[in-house]
Structures are given as structure tokens and as C-alpha cells.
Chain length 381, copies 2
Amino acid sequence: MSQEKLLLIPGPSPVVPRILDVLAKPTVSHVGPDMVRDLKEACENLKKIVFCENGEPFIISGAGTLSMEMAILNTAGPGDRVLVLSQGYFGQRMADICRAFGLEHDVLECEWGKSVTPRELEQRLRAKNYNVVVCTHVDTATGACAPVEEYSQVLDKTGALFIVDGVCATGGVPERMDAWGIDVVLTAAQKCLGTPPGLSILVLSEQAMEKRRSLAAVPAYYSDLLRWLPIMHDPSKYFSTPGVNEVRAFAEATRIILEEGVEERFERHDLHAEAIRAGLAALSFGFFTDPDYLAATLSVVRYPDGVDDKAFRAGLYENGVVVAGGLAQTLGQVFRMGHMGNLSSAQVKFAIGAVEKTLQGLGCPFKPGSGSEAVNKVLKA
Amino acid sequence: MSQEKLLLIPGPSPVVPRILDVLAKPTVSHVGPDMVRDLKEACENLKKIVFCENGEPFIISGAGTLSMEMAILNTAGPGDRVLVLSQGYFGQRMADICRAFGLEHDVLECEWGKSVTPRELEQRLRAKNYNVVVCTHVDTATGACAPVEEYSQVLDKTGALFIVDGVCATGGVPERMDAWGIDVVLTAAQKCLGTPPGLSILVLSEQAMEKRRSLAAVPAYYSDLLRWLPIMHDPSKYFSTPGVNEVRAFAEATRIILEEGVEERFERHDLHAEAIRAGLAALSFGFFTDPDYLAATLSVVRYPDGVDDKAFRAGLYENGVVVAGGLAQTLGQVFRMGHMGNLSSAQVKFAIGAVEKTLQGLGCPFKPGSGSEAVNKVLKA
């Protein structure tokens, strides 16, 4: 095993020992009392995290992409029109999924690093009717955070179901399902929720469940949420063996979130994002994402003149921090740093310290300590 | 947390500490060097476990049911005819999956506790052509093990692809893909492979991959194995974040299997099955499954006269062993005991000792020590 590094890619996020300890508990029966209690509690807690009173939560072995598929297959059928608000990589993926299943769909795109504006959405909806509108809340490739609350205000006047892909947002950025009229939040375990990857996670509103029931059939079996519903209500029932250890670890993750407080968690994500960006800016890094759309959960960072992507990331790795390179059109031009999940202030400081060390190792000119100083100023404010 | 019990349900099987320790390692990058090495090694080892030289292995976050779906969606399309050899619960499930996706299929059934005979298969194939034939190797509900090698001899004369659902068999009962001409083995992590649940696992032959490539499109996105193929060849590439901790734990599980020796592992499963059945028979239990079809991986056990199902299983639980009740038509009439994965002889002895204690607690007449004596006789032979 390589020496342990601080994992600051845009997911998986670092997993705290308390969650790893639960993950490593002896595997219990998938329909036994320990699992029943933990899956039920995880479902209840999940609803609190997305502010949903009466919806239906689903926690199923899979990944974020499977959550996306589950969300759209269970809310759109033949004759439905889907509008995908795409701000980058994962909007395109949602369009690909619609295509794979033959769902009629349009894509409303924007420049990478920004989001589709509520005004653009409004104009499109005046021109054409849609049954389902889906947006990526935070795009992992571009670092842009979409104005979900404002979208929901626009959609309020239509009968369209509203799906929010919260893979890089849920638990780190507000998603107030009931208040905003969101019908589906889909996400994965390994981002702001702080659990190892391996779960597809969704919450559907009552309207979304009604829509599922109105679909005669869906081109899905494992992804058919109606097959999972009885298990989420009573985990002692059997459909397909859930990932026992993962689910129990996720239950612990939701406990940690509620102990911290959901609002406090959002504030911490804001604070850490501000601190990290202040530190990086002090070291002459820039940001790819439009300042109006910066996400609290990750930063897409432009290099100072003369700093090479590969050399920088290799150096940073040696100094104990793993970040990701650019995706698609930003490849080689940026690095992406996640700052989400159960990150501590000490880890934020460590990360910027490691960036300074790396610049030093590469012989780049900078004022030693200036990054850390900027971080501390934000954290102490 | 409840006190730890010996988990002898027909999956999940008990997970040894060595695998739990790997599961609990800090989460690493899904495209980083540790994960690349482990996923590659797991893929190579998996091929050895099913005796496949040139096929394509897939290890994907999910469950056994998703493996079933992946197997059939990637080998059968419009115009294909599927024959499902059903010996119980999971054959019916495969038929349900075919129905959900509109695949033309027939079901060849048999009495619960037996398997469809090779002769019945031969007769059916004389009457009608099929492009894909799928069987459950060991049915978890009935405890019957199908004559897969003999099926393959019958199928050898046809051009049909042969899918084996090895969820309760792979790694505990021989599945010699190349020698027998099996085109797909599908399975899950938590049975004979001894890992916690959370993975869909498949190996496809070259013929099966050719068939997938010949299908213009499949009604799948996450389940489309062509999307996963580049990742299985080079895990530093990205499609959808794999379950890092689960995959690394599974890699460790495959190492344990190869260290034991695959043939030796099959022999151990045979021996433990024989020992457990000798012990239970000495205590006046009977078996639901036809003696010609007894699986080495689990037993479906009939009670002696006057022993109540619920009282017995509750008592056994108190004595440290978890077993499962009957499924569907056997509910209340049998218990199902798994004996698969990384079970030790000491655990086999403990299990029969716990059965004796339970009978004693219920006031059932039996010769004390007779069960354990029968077990020891087999294990020492």
C-alpha cells in the first residue's frame, strides 16, 4: 500500500475513521435486525438532508451514473419530453442516457464554467412544453454550481417534474426539496456525504412517485424503483441483496451529518471553499469557473504562468495531496480540487501548505507563507 | 451492535478479517495506482476462478440481480429467443427480467428441489431454436445444483450462447468456462467468493463479447458492458466511479481463493457440505432437495417431527448461528443453511454444536453429541 495521501479529488472525498470503522464491521444478514435498523435510519436521515418531508428515499448498490439512470427512467416514459440543462460533462451524460433509452429530449447548453440562466430556461419553456426538466447541480468537470432555487421558481409555473443531479452537491450545498419543489434529488455516497463509493442514492417527491406509478412499464428491472420501494419501507423484505457494509457505513455518515447540523455543514463548505480559494489566489493561481457560479464543493484551478500541470500534480502528490486533472476540454490546463464531505480545517491548511511546498520544489516564485496566511485569515474571520 | 453471530444464511457468507481489513483501508482515488493495480489483479484472478483464458471480466458496483440483467441485456436483443432453465426462484427472476425488457423467452421448469434434466433440454432444443440458454447453477431457494457440464454438452451441438447464473456457486462449485463452453458466468461478491455484498461480477467469453458487439443498441446505459470494457482493461480510465473499497476487498478475496487453490476450494465445499449434512441427519433432520441435486454450497433442511421453524431459528440465533427461513413455497417448513465462502472446519463444528444446543433448549429428544460426532467423522476421514 502506498503511503496515505489526503484525497482532494472531486470525489471520492476523504472518509473519516468513524465511517471506515462501521464499514469494517462483520457482515450481517441483509434482512436481519442490525441492517433493518441502519437502512431505515439512513433513509430517514437522508430525507432530512434534502429537506423532504413526505418523499421516498432509495439507497441501492450502484454509482452516481446509475442514480441518473434511475431518476430519468422512473419519471419519463414514451411521449414525455425531457429538457436537460447542461453545464458540462454530466449534463451531456444525462442526454446520453436519454438517448440510450430512446427518451425524447432537448439539451439547453451553456459555456463551460457557467450555468444555464433562469432566464434562458424561462424562454425555452415559453417556446416548448416539457414533462421533465433535469439539471446538474454542481458539474464536477467545470466547478459551476447551477442556480437550482431560481430554476425551481421558473418551473413552479409549469407542470414539469424537476430532477436535480446532486452528485457533487447533496449534503454540501442546499437542496430544499419541499420548499423549492424539487421532485428528484439523485446523488452518490462518495462526494459531500463522505462515504466510500458504491451506492446510488435518490429521494423522490410524492409527485415523482405518482409519475412512476402512472408509467405502464419502464425499461428497467434493477433500476425500477417500485421494486425497491417495499424494501426501503421494510428492509426485512427481500428484493436484491443490498450492500450491507456500505449501507451501514452510509447510515453512520448520515448520523455525522445530522450531528454537525445540515445548515452548519453548508456553512462549513462555504468557508472551506473561500479559504482554499484565498490561499490559491495568494499564490497566483486563478479559477476556471465564472465567479458568479463558483461551487462550494470543488475548485477548478488555473495555473500561474510557467507551471506545468503534470509536474505540479506529481509534486503535490509527493507532498501528500491528491488532486485531479482537467476533464475533456480543460485537460492539461487546470487541476480540480475537491473540498467537500467531512473535511476539517486542519486538512484545508495542510492542502495549501502542500501547494506551497510544491511550488517551491518546482522553483516557482511566490511569497512563502502567503497562501497559508490567506487561508488562516478566512478560517479565523 | 448485537453480539457477533456466525452468519450461515445462503449469502452473504461470513467475511474473514483479512478481507474486512482491506475494506476498511482509507478510500483512495478511483483512478489512482492502488485501485488500478487491485482492479486489474481482481479481473485476472476472476478469470482463473472460472477457468477462462481469453474472456472479459467485469467487476461493477451492484448486486446479483444486476449481474443477471447485465448478462441477458448484453447477449440477447430483438429477434433473439431466450430459453430459461428454471429450477426455482431465480430462474423465475430471469424470466421476469426478460419480460421487463421485452425479450422473447420460454421457461423450462422443473419441480422444486430438482433441476431440468439434460434430456429435457435436448428435447426442447429439438423442438425449437434458441439463441441464448440461461440456467441457475445453484438455486438459493431450493438448494438444487444444476448439471451445468451436461447442459453444456447438449448445447455444444447448437449455436446458442450459454449463460450460467453462478450467484450461489462461483468459487464454490466448478464452472469451467473454456472446457465446458460457457459464454457468461454471472455472480455476486457475497456468496462463495466471501466478500461483502455490493458488486455485480461477470465474465464473458469471446463469443459473448462478439454477440454484444453485434447488437446495434441495448436498452441499458450503466448495464451496457461495452461502456465498462475500457475501464476493465485500464482502470485509470473513467466511466462511472467504481466502489473503491469493495473492489479492493474483492481483490483480496480473489487472492485468498488462489492461495487456497481453486480445486482445493471446491473439495472443501464438498467436504463441509457432507459434514454438515451428516451432522444434521444424525439429529433427525431431513433435506428438501432431491439427493441427486444436492448443492455443495447450501442445504435446505426439513425439521424433525414437532420442531417449530420460528422457535428453532430463534433458538439457534441465541446460540450464535444465523440461518434463513424457507422462501416462497417452503416458507415455515425448512431452514436454509449456507456453507460457502471462507468457512472453516471449526465453524462447521460450531454450527452443528449450536443446532444440538438449540434442540436441547426446545426439549426435543436426540442423542447428545451425535451430531458433532457425525461431523467429526466426515472431517477426519
